[in-house]
Amino acid sequence: MTNERDTILEVSNLTISFSTYDGEIHAVRDVDFTLRRGEVLAIVGESGSGKSVTAQALMGLTPIPPGIVKSGTVLLGGTDILATSEARLSRIRGSKVSMIFQDPMTSLNPSMKIGDQIREILHQHARLSRKQSYERAVELLRLVGMPEPERRMNQYPHQFSGGMRQRIVIAIAVANNPDLLLADEPTTALDVTIQSQIFRLIEQIRRQFGTAMILITHDLGLVAGIADRIVVMYGGRVVEEGLTDQIYYNPQHPYTVGLLNAVPRLSDSSDTPLRTIEGLPPILKDEAEKCAFAERCPWVMKVCRQKQPGYFPATAANRTACWLHHEAAKPLQEAFLSKRTSL
């Protein structure tokens, strides 16, 4: 059972839609999850699954309009982010929660020296002398593995490689020792060898400061070694949640199984076609009346097209939104569980 004092983030009933010329898009549908101090939670899903819209909401960054927060609360250390004034939010962002974006070139200011960009965030959240902020910025650059930090302080983002830029972004993100880091595909824009270095760096810093992290990605192949828990999103909903090992070794939702199978492995034989999830992600125009995955699901039943499944089991942190786990579907459930391809 979760110790309540340990919970630093609690998202409940989060529902967000966007009004477009083409009608309302129900991007996030009744999402809830919690995060404990120091924990790493991966939110995994495809484009359109609602994972990035959820992340925006955690920072209070939902663009309104066209976004509409229909319901829900995001409690960060007891404060409801969704009901907080912009002035207070800007004090929370960067100090209690900070974000590492996908593309470091667009999250850094191209016309400002990187030293000044780090010092800016330090001055925003604490009273420091110029000398103190300078020294702290150099220290942060050293922490993220920047060679010759004093000299690099005076350079502009374009003078750095992609990997080094992401290190600067990380230095800015951890400058005020936040409780929560939100990383939205932090290494997608980087090469494999650099990707690995950046993940190690984030992990090292996170452990050092006991920072909790939400890692948002579309690739289950990346998070096996990092995440403590995984939330799988599809069509704006959490379809499965569980501990990392359970998600990989004992997935309960047909979509999670599909996602795991779609990750190519070095051991795959070239003679058999890659296992894919047929069909396309849903367009989220309809109100949820059925399971969003029904049209792509190899195990679809009649009920899936009629009624959206609740969670099985209904309470535990380890849950699945799939009718296969209803007791009336027992024989089919057993067939599904035995046919999942093992790793």
Binding site: D191, V192, T193, S196, A224, G225, R265, T276, L280
Partner: protein, 322 residues
């Protein structure tokens, strides 16, 4: 590979002049691609793999060296032969959001190649476009729709249809799946493999995702800073990597299995890619290599034959001084 060579690169080099400085993008690549095979080209951004692909398509002229396609030097082609080459060598780009003209319908995008090469009447061209749409798994009824009405995976199918409509012999796939969701990547790779089997195509598959490259390729070349550092049939390359860079690259692939991933030992090269402007003598990997020695600065650019079609450019494996 016992097939016939379709493409031959001899000491191909490409330099760009950027702000008065010379950037050596490709530094002396020798390569033979055989008819009907898939040759995978991997390396990090800036290693020259896309530049090489573009030189092979004829988008960039070589600075020196020679590229021969079906026996003819592509830089010397004129008139009919030049048009023929433009038809037979097609390319699919990485980003299906920028590679398709947003103001043209899908039917127009796909049949434009037929028009340029004056193949068939308008009627025949439209029919061929519909056939090809069907072949790549797009509903032909969508021919009058615009690219923005399609998802990323479907757009990549449109780009593949555009490449295939003119009956090419060879297709350069320049990171065709990097911009797509994992669940869609498999669909596109399966499609490419299926089309290759049906149409007898030769692929040059440029990518940085090693698991995908391993899956689709027959042989794989590894590039680093403009040079080809290792080349081998894929089982050989992944089972017995010899170049320290290839080993580092393979060790950095995350394993989608929590227990094995937690135990994975990386031998990540220290530091980052040197600036492409840097003038490095000898092996380009020497600044990051854990096994560097004095001899590395004198190494020749050739691949040393290790047998089984496995070539490597490294002093540890006997590549002589240049």
């Amino acid at each position: 590979m016992s097939g016939q060579p379709i493409l031959e690169l001899t000491d191909v080099r490409k330099q760009f002049v950027v702000g008065g400085r010379v950037l050596k993008a490709v530094e002396g690549v020798d390569l033979i691609v055989y008819k009907g095979e898939t040759f995978g080209l991997v390396g990090e951004s800036g290693c020259g793999k896309s530049t090489l692909g573009r030189m092979i398509k004829g988008i960039y002229a070589v600075s020196s060296g020679r590229i021969t396609f079906e026996g003819a030097d592509i830089s010397r082609l004129k008139g009919e032969a030049k048009r023929g080459f433009a038809r037979k060598m097609q390319i699919v780009f990485q980003d299906p959001y920028s590679s398709l003209n947003p103001r043209m319908t899908v039917g127009e995008i796909i049949s434009e190649g037929l028009e340029i090469h004056k193949l068939g009447t308008a009627e025949v061209r439209a029919q061929k476009a519909r056939q090809i749409m069907d072949l790549v798994g797009l509903n032909p009824e969508y021919e009058n729709r615009f690219p923005h009405e399609f998802s990323g995976g479907q757009r990549q199918r449109i780009a593949i249809a555009r490449a295939l409509v003119v009956d090419p012999d060879m297709v350069i796939c320049d990171e065709p799946i990097s911009a797509l969701d994992v669940s869609i990547q498999g669909q596109i790779v399966n499609l490419l493999k299926d089309l290759q089997r049906r149409l007898g195509l030769t692929y040059l598959f440029v990518a940085h995702d090693l698991s995908m490259v391993k899956y689709i390729s027959d042989r794989v070349g590894v590039m680093y800073l403009g040079r080809l550092v290792e080349l081998a049939p894929k089982a050989e390359l992944f089972g017995n990597p010899l170049h320290p860079y290839t080993r580092a690259l393979l060790s950095s692939i995350p394993i989608p299995d929590p227990e094995r991933e937690r135990k994975r030992v990386e031998n990540i090269p220290k530091g980052e890619l040197p600036s492409p402007f840097a003038d490095i003598r000898g092996c380009p990997f020497q600044t990051r290599c854990p096994q560097v020695s004095d001899a590395c600065t004198r190494i020749s650019a050739e691949l040393t034959d290790m047998g089984n079609g496995h070539g490597v450019n490294c002093v540890l494996h006997g590549t002589p001084a240049g």
